[in-house]
């Protein structure tokens, strides 16, 4: 009895061991002959899924998309080795565990062309941006000596669809969630501490890139230099116009006057 229990435990707990056994690289112990390794893999995924129950409050539609796609446990089965490896890192913050999981889910959906995969990527990116902004708002404001400063947190994400359309379909469990038409967009996720507000703002590509380079604060020379390195469209007048618009909206603060080359 002990031998088969030990084998099961090793398959579930030693990163990579089960994969190597399934691939025929390592033999299975005699007591474990006949063990359904595919189901054992799925059980490992199930355990990892349950151990991430605390993640779903911030990513409800990501989880729903996984379930509607019929691949929730399978995704966690693929994530199991990473989960085990991270679990062995002493003192790893919960935020980093969740960040790793969500990154894996996005990567997995992004790599396959299955039905609903691109819509799932949109939802993952949308919920992660919301989560990251909420996390940043919980931190004290950094006091940086910069000419251009966000008010208070900006994250810019490129999405292939309108996430609200997908979420509305997911909410009612409609299969149409996986068929939502592509509507590419850039979205700025804007968090304001004093107002306890998080707003999403659709922006054009030029604005998206300018705002995404601001980070926690930047000086005009550094901003221009970075943007010019991407594309010679980013001239001083173009960047000035974007910054002025963002400042008018209250998204950034320009230490007067913004000195651009």
């Amino acid at each position: 009895m002990s031998g088969v229990h030990t084998t099961i435990a090793r398959c579930l707990l030693e990163p990579g061991y089960l994969d190597r056994v399934r691939a025929g690289e390592l033999p299975l112990s005699a007591e474990a002959e006949g063990l359904d390794l595919d189901r054992l893999r799925m059980f490992g995924g199930f355990v990892s899924k349950v151990q991430h129950n605390d993640s779903w409050a911030d990513f409800p539609f990501t989880r729903a998309a996984l379930k509607l796609a019929g691949r929730e446990i399978d995704t966690f089965a693929d994530y199991r080795n990473r989960h085990l490896t991270l679990g062995a890192v002493p003192g790893l913050p919960r935020v980093e565990r969740i960040r790793a999981l969500i990154g894996f889910i996005e990567q997995r959906f992004g790599q396959d062309g299955s039905r609903g995969a691109s819509q799932a990527v949109t939802i993952v990116r949308h919920e992660r941006a919301l989560w990251e902004v909420r996390l940043a708002l919980e931190l004290p404001a950094e006091q940086l000596d910069r000419q251009i400063v966000p008010r208070d947190v900006l994250r810019v994400v490129e999405l292939a669809h309108d996430p609200q359309v997908i979420a509305d379909q997911i909410r009612v469990g409609a299969a149409a969630w996986a068929e939502v038409a592509a509507q590419p967009r850039f979205v700025c996720y804007w968090g304001q501490r004093a107002e306890h507000r998080l707003t999403t703002v659709a922006v054009d590509g030029v604005t998206a890139l300018v705002l995404s380079e601001i980070g926690t604060g930047i000086d005009p020379d550094a901003l221009i230099a970075r943007l010019a390195g991407y594309d010679d469209r980013f001239t001083e007048p173009v960047v000035s116009a974007v910054l002025a618009g963002a400042a008018d909206r209250g998204m950034i603060r320009l230490v007067e006057p913004a000195r651009l080359r």
Partner: protein, 276 residues
């Protein structure tokens, strides 16, 4: 109901609806302050640390802690799983895994054991050892079987029936686990229940389940299917069950309206059996 982060709020809003809260020992061990949130409601202790069906016993201090919380909560019984959580690491031979060398493997989740005479003997001994130290009786909960264990010589129903012949153990019948096991093994749940020592059932668990990759999986964030309520009715007709626990404790998003509806659903079954 099984404890979740929303339980204190639910209790404050609907104190008349909850007869007791079932709390995991592991949660109390990790966060003893949880108990302070349950000052006005009876507590039933649940446990997943004794590994009664494994070859590696828990450390003595674990049993002491379980006993301590049993006293502190005043629990009428302690639910534990017919499972193994710990396994001999040395039997695995040379291993590249540097994690906790010298320590047994700790799966961190209950796993249905190999069902044999040898396991029966171990469980009988483990129960005796545990009950000698615990101030409240143990109830043994049936785990879900997601994959058969090679070398098993009996079904779970046969195993539990034989265990009840050899001991006075009471049972915690988890109907989600029971249904999952039957379906995953291609068996009829109602037929399986006919052979189960239902007269020993003291407590029943209800929760939801998922289906993926051709198997059923436990899900405490979904509503129990009607099949479980049908099984509950059969159980109540045969046994003097003292408690029915709703295990909807895996999601803080589980709607209160749904929980209220589930309480109504269970009450309708228990009331119908009482009247009948």
């Amino acid at each position: 109901m099984a404890y979740s982060a929303r339980t204190p709020t639910f209790l404050a809003r609907h104190p008349e609806l909850v007869d007791y809260v079932e709390v995991p020992f592991e949660m109390l061990r990790h966060n003893p302050a949880t108990f302070d949130l349950l000052a006005n409601v009876p507590v039933v202790l649940h446990c997943a640390s004794l590994s009664v069906a494994g070859s590696v016993p828990p450390k003595p201090e674990v049993l002491d802690e379980v006993a301590g919380w049993a006293v502190r909560t005043g629990t009428p019984w302690i639910g534990e799983h017919l499972s193994f959580i710990l396994a001999d690491r040395e039997l695995a031979g040379p291993s590249a895994d540097p994690y906790a060398p010298g320590e047994p493997w700790n799966i961190g989740y209950t796993v249905s054991p190999q069902l044999t005479e040898q396991t029966l003997d171990r469980v009988v001994a483990a129960l005796a050892a545990a009950e000698a130290k615990l101030p409240a009786p143990l109830l043994l909960e049936n785990p879900p079987i997601y994959f058969p264990i090679p070398g098993s010589t009996m079904t779970q129903v046969q195993f539990v029936a034989e265990l009840c012949q050899r001991t006075e153990i009471g049972l915690l019948l988890d109907l989600a686990h029971f249904y999952i096991t039957a379906r995953n093994l291609g068996l009829d749940p109602v037929e399986q229940l006919a052979g189960y020592p239902v007269e020993r059932v003291v407590e029943v668990h209800l929760s939801g389940l998922d289906e993926e990759a051709g198997s059923l999986w436990d899900n405490h964030a979904a509503r129990a299917p009607q099949a479980e309520l049908d099984l509950l009715e059969l159980v109540l007709a045969r046994a003097s069950v003292r408690a029915v626990t709703l295990e909807y404790n895996w999601s803080t998003q589980f709607p209160e309206t749904v929980l209220l509806a589930e309480l109504d659903r269970v009450h309708s079954v228990t009331a119908a059996v009482s009247v009948g």
